[in-house]
């Protein structure tokens, strides 16, 4: 590992520590200058994230253009990807989102494909549930029964079969699920604080490809 990489990493960690603690302390003080500076830092981070998006799109384009030029594996879908990525991007930049062509592309291409991907979930839920929801043990039986009652409670038509599905499903959600989620949420929140604290005191470096 070069000392240059280590220096860059140390600078990143230093910035993280300074900005991180500043933002935490800012939450507890009321001072226009400090609150305004915190807002500026947040805005800068938003702009940086937009810059990263350019890097991501650039990398994606580079990979797929190379695939097209060398007619590598699956080069034809790469053509579709490049065209569907760049044409709406250019139209959107030039004409903004109010451009009729952009609106047409969004409503006729992006929206249906997003909906289709989401719709696939229902089929995957079916195959996953059919395969995995088996009464192998007491735990899995309880999971199975809870899933059945909640699903039947969420389908309004099942009130024709038995009117108790909705109240029972609702009880499982309001009492059992809420209790479980609450407990897990508290644990997750504390775990998040621990992870964040390691980053804020500079002890966590692995996400920067560093070693402890």
């Amino acid at each position: 590992m070069s000392s240059y990489d280590d220096s860059i990493r140390n600078i990143s960690i230093f910035i993280t520590i300074v900005i991180g603690w500043f933002m935490i302390l800012e939450y507890f003080v009321k001072a226009p200058a400090i609150n305004s500076f915190a807002g500026t830092i947040s805005s800068i981070s938003t702009c940086l994230l937009a810059t990263f998006t350019i890097i991501g799109v650039g990398n994606l384009s580079r990979h797929h253009v190379k695939n097209i030029l060398t007619q590598g594996r699956n080069w034809m879908p790469s053509v579709v990807l490049i065209v569907s990525c760049w044409i709406p991007l250019v139209i959107g930049i030039i004409g903004t989102r109010k451009d009729p062509t952009y609106a047409y592309l969004y409503n006729s291409l992006y929206l249906p494909t997003s909906q289709a991907f989401f719709g696939i979930l229902s089929f995957y839920i079916l195959s996953a549930a059919y395969r995995t929801f088996k009464t192998r043990s007491l735990d899995s039986t309880v999971l199975l029964l809870a899933a059945i009652f909640v699903m039947m409670g969420n389908a309004p038509a099942t009130s024709i079969i038995w009117s108790g599905f909705a109240p029972l499903g609702g009880w499982i959600l309001d009492v059992c699920t809420a209790a479980g989620v609450r407990g897990i949420s508290i644990g997750i929140a504390i775990g998040s604080v621990v992870t964040a604290l390691r980053v804020l005191v500079g002890r966590e470096r692995r996400h920067l490809a560093g070693r402890e």
Binding site: G39, S42, Y130
Partner: protein, 279 residues
């Protein structure tokens, strides 16, 4: 045909049956009953009781992926709010929000029929306004609460000082309530709006996000919520303005019943196999 195969079906047969079952009510609506749930009633009661002239903010942060769930909820709420005498400020904190807000007014595949504010006697700039997309996530929530005029112009380029409605909406202190339609970032909204300004918060959430909301509703940090497509259909029923969500409830019902049927079928097969000692 061997019954063994019936309990170990290939996935393609499962998918075929599900596709047929959800197609039936699209071709021939069944008109199955819809019974409003507690949370939908809570949302409806809150919105119905909004005082005249109060400022209500709609955070249209839905995305295309959650369109069937959140867009239908948004349209149902929008119709109801436009029929009330409230000052409606619409804003988006998701990049796709403006496209879907436009679709809400113009109608579309996941919005249903157009929503015409003029039908309810609402005038743009006086009774409702759309401020457009504000990027930044939680930063944007924080900044919008501090200064609702941060965009300087509305989505259509009109300066905010030329819009009479904005005189009533300067900061989060002026909001009577806010409803967000978002697939995520719920806690950030609670932290930046309810915790800071104490403003009642309602959510339109997809089904998978509902479990984490129960705790916040129990503590009062969130007033109520609409859950998924079923919440939208229930709300349409309560508000008397039937739309796309109601027509899709039959699909939801048959789809869920099909899934439960196959779960039970799979377990019957598993039980028979265990009895035979195969496993």
């Amino acid at each position: 045909m061997s019954f063994d195969k019936l309990f170990d079906l290939d996935q393609k047969y499962l998918y075929l049956v599900l596709a047929i079952m959800v197609s039936i009510p699209i071709i021939k609506p069944l008109g199955l009953p819809v019974v409003p749930g507690t949370y939908t009633k809570g949302t409806y009661d809150f919105i119905s009781s909004l005082p005249e002239g109060s400022v209500f903010v709609l955070d249209a942060a839905q995305t295309a992926g959650y369109g069937a769930e959140l867009q239908t909820q948004y349209v149902a709420i929008l119709r109801h709010l436009l029929s009330l005498d409230v000052k409606l400020v619409i804003v988006s904190f998701a990049a796709e929000g403006p496209m879907l807000v436009d679709m809400g007014f113009a109608g579309g595949t996941i919005s249903g029929t157009p929503v015409d504010p003029a039908f309810y006697g609402d005038v743009y700039g006086e009774d409702y306004v759309y401020l457009g997309f504000i990027p930044g996530g939680e930063t944007a929530f924080f900044a919008f609460g501090l200064d609702c005029w941060m965009t300087k112009v509305d989505e259509y380029g009109t300066p905010l000082e030329d819009l009479p409605i904005m005189q009533y909406c300067k900061t989060g202190e002026d909001w009577y309530g806010i409803m967000s339609f978002a697939g995520g970032n719920h806690e950030q909204r609670i932290a930046q709006w309810n915790s800071v300004y104490g403003v009642p918060l309602l959510f339109g959430v997809p089904g998978v996000s509902a479990p984490r909301m129960y705790s916040y509703i129990a503590t009062g940090q969130v007033e109520s919520m609409l859950v998924s497509l079923i919440g939208a259909a229930e709300y349409e029923m309560l508000s008397g303005k039937v739309g796309l969500a109601s027509s899709l409830m039959d699909v939801l019902s048959l789809g869920q019943i099909t899934i439960v049927f196959f779960i039970i079928l799979g377990n019957i097969g598993y039980y028979i196999e265990r009895r035979r000692g195969v496993k």
